[in-house]
Amino acid sequence: MPDERMRTEQLHPPSDPSLDPLVQEPQRWTDRILNWAAGLPWWAIILAVIAIFVLYSMLSSVAYRRVIRSLTDDPQVSTDDLFDVVQIVGEPTMIIGRYTDETRDSVETVIAELLDTVIDSEEVTRTGFIEEETPATLTIQSDEGAFTIPKGRVTEMDPPDAMVGSDVTITYIDRVTVTGVLTDRNDKTMTVRTVNEETVTFAKDRILSQDIQTIACDRDADPNCEDREVIVIQRQGEIISGRLNTLSQTNMSLELDDESTREIRRSDVDYFNVPTLTIAVNVDMAEAAVGEGDEVRLGFAKETDITDALVELETLDEVPVPLRYADGDARVVLVPYPDIVAALEAADAGEIDAVVYLDDSLDRLAVADWVDANPGANVMLPTPPRECERNCDVTVKLVDDEVTGTVIKETDDEITLRTVDAVYIILDRDKIVDDRRMEPGVCALNNLRGCDSGIFLTLRVTFMAYGLALIIGLFFGLMRVSSNPILYAISTLYVEVIRGIPLLVILLYAGFVVSPRIRDTFGLELTDEWEAIIGLAFGYGAFIAEIFRAGIQSISRGQMEAARSLGMSYPQSMRYVILPQAVRVVLPPLGNDFIAMLKDSALISVLALPDLLQLGRLYVSRTFRAFEGYNTVAILYLGMTLLLSLLVRIIERRARLPR
């Protein structure tokens, strides 16, 4: 042996580094960067860059920007609408104080009303005897036990002068419900906005008069408070023009120029002008027959648009005789008059046979008014004035009103008032006794919880379903390699059955068969999202089980024997020896399945979930922009799958063993 070592040393003498070809050129930093770059998954990076470029050019086009916004749940940059909450607080005094503070002025009355609905206290009545009294509390002993009640919460006590030892019936505030929007949260407190700030913006030329009022502060409630100044503005009712959609006894609906519709209550309307057609006929001519070649003379006021009026006239069913000129091919002579009164007087005199009047101004009933005012005239109205009921231009003036608030912005022609201040309530987290409801608020970068449709839903469902599918797959995969025939049979049945059914059918099963059964049997209400997650997870679990089975079986038997011979149990050997190796083997197929599931998640739209595809389809059906709509859907899916395959690559590389 020593000889051998000698020989090796002669073959490789301790060398001068400069002579050794490997050490001769020390690795420079450029080489290192090149080596590192050569190892990156370049194809994915190039595709991702292209995807980003395409996305960018799409984002800079208005049409695409609109699609993308609707596919991504219209995210805001930042919001303070973190959660919609209902909290039950055990310590009501603070809120009570706030409540009484806000009940004096008309503006504050609104707040008070709102507060009434958002802060709701629960009163409890107990009967017993007073066991102990301290300056701050009363302890009563009742049938249900002893209660210590802060005196500040007592609302009623009977008798009012009860003393220690005497019987008493006492009513006090037990808990308070706060409903609102969570805007901030830290370890100690939660800030809930119970009343939203409200602002109005309107044109300054609507201001009729304005007045400054001072609201005195209630120093009894809060010694530090300051008087507030508010501005009270009398303003003219808004004038709205548009096309009339519907007109009913109570409501009207207008289509405005920007294609939006506006519902207006008739009670808010001061007046409105719709085109109204009125026909007045000379009494003598009303019964006359009109024959071929006869002349019919129609008078009109100069300001009447006679073409429109004649078109309207055609739509009338019951046209009085002289106007049925078309029947006998009568010749129509149109005679303009300077104003409507002149025309009516001409009709009275028999110079013309009839007057046609179409007007949408305040004077639109002028003909009827004149006929009313001149009962002796030789003119009659064969049909009442006819208001247009739909599809005509209309102008509505709303009633004048009054706004009170503080000015927060004023430009040359517009003014913005804050009419209602936001009301914040700070809750001590220790005092919260029940989180009745916490629902994610507005979708924004600082509140991704609130993003729950489109691409976010797709991603969330995919990640959750995949996680669940991994668990299911691992479970059934282990059963597939188990020596227990029953477990083996169960898992084989599962794999074969699920693999043989289309994923779409499995999803429909989860949504419409399994979920109602679960509700009926366990009373557990699954959301659509969970139905989708469960469907996808069970559908993919079968494939993942097979992947795990193959992975476990690819590990040589010697590994299990070595582990067992060291005294590890079967589960321990699986957990510490076989699975870590098997997982490395199955990472690539698992990654493939992940990407496949992301794409197959498009099927969940059959469960009426607003995922990426569903929103895309809705967009297309709304706007008929199929090209932009589906382009965007495809690009977003592609971008996500590319990023995921990059991620999978990175994970695979990190899991690789040194060789």
């Binding site: 024997e561 060291l566 005294g567 590890m568 510490y576 020896v577 870590p580 190796q581 063993l657 040194p658």
Partner: protein, 247 residues
């Protein structure tokens, strides 16, 4: 000495395959005393591996009884207890490829013996030093030579403080230069008084370390004796034939 630490009595083992039944162990009886080193030789397929694997119940037996350190190998509950007392070294090393040499030696200490991480690591480092490769603690099996891997495997088995070590042809997958480094480790172990059952055709090792040599053929123990006698002067023809082939 007192009682045998391994008592094998009339053991039968059959393998049922599609092509018929193989009677791998046919009425085997063998006692091993504490501290004894027994070398088993025999032609391929004679049941040597099967017998070793029966001792720590990697195979179940069809008849007879095996008692290891007074624990009968009858039900599954005893089995992990026996296995922690019996270390096994395989022909193909069977190191865990996803753990370093140190990790291989640490794992079972942590999982089975519930030792603290630092204690297990210290013990593992000492054992790696004992088998002569302290500097390879952080290498992965794929980065080690066959001889080094086998020595890690020995350290891994020793980490459980076994009373008995089973070696199944530990050197037959190795190049000649590496065989010696593994046999040296085994020789040291034998000198320390470890009870060892070794399947090996390394005559030099057998003569130097073994107290007894056993010749098996066709599932039976044909003869046993001290190595010098068995190898140079066997009494059965089959043994002679076999020895003439391998020497």
């Amino acid at each position: 000495m007192n009682e045998p630490i391994i008592q094998i009595h009339n053991v039968h083992k059959r393998f049922h395959t599609l092509r018929g039944t193989v009677h791998a162990l046919n009425d085997i009886s063998l006692d091993v005393m504490p501290g004894e080193v027994v070398v088993i030789v025999g032609p391929s397929g004679s049941g040597k591996s099967t017998m070793l694997r029966c001792i720590n119940r990697l195979e179940t037996i069809d008849g007879g009884s095996i008692v290891v350190d007074n624990i009968p190998l009858t039900n599954a509950r005893n089995i992990n207890k026996v296995r922690t007392e019996v270390g096994m070294v395989f022909q193909s090393f069977n190191l865990f490829p996803d753990r370093t040499a140190l990790g291989n030696v640490v794992l079972a200490q942590r999982v089975v013996r519930k030792r603290r991480r630092s204690d297990a690591a210290t013990k593992a480092q000492n054992l790696l030093a004992k088998v002569g490769i302290p500097e390879k603690a952080d290498a992965y099996p794929a980065q080690l030579s066959g001889g080094q891997q086998q020595r890690v495997a020995i350290a891994r088995a020793l980490a459980m403080d076994p009373k008995i070590m089973l070696f199944d042809e530990p050197t037959s997958a190795l190049d000649p230069e590496m065989i010696k480094e593994v046999l040296d480790v085994m020789l040291d172990l034998a000198k320390e008084g470890m009870t060892m059952v070794v399947v090996s055709h390394e005559m030099g090792f057998a003569r130097a370390a073994a107290d007894r040599a056993v010749f098996m053929d066709e599932g039976r123990i044909v003869e046993e004796d001290i190595p010098d006698v068995l190898f140079s002067n066997p009494s059965h023809d089959r043994t002679k034939l076999f020895l003439s082939k391998i020497l």
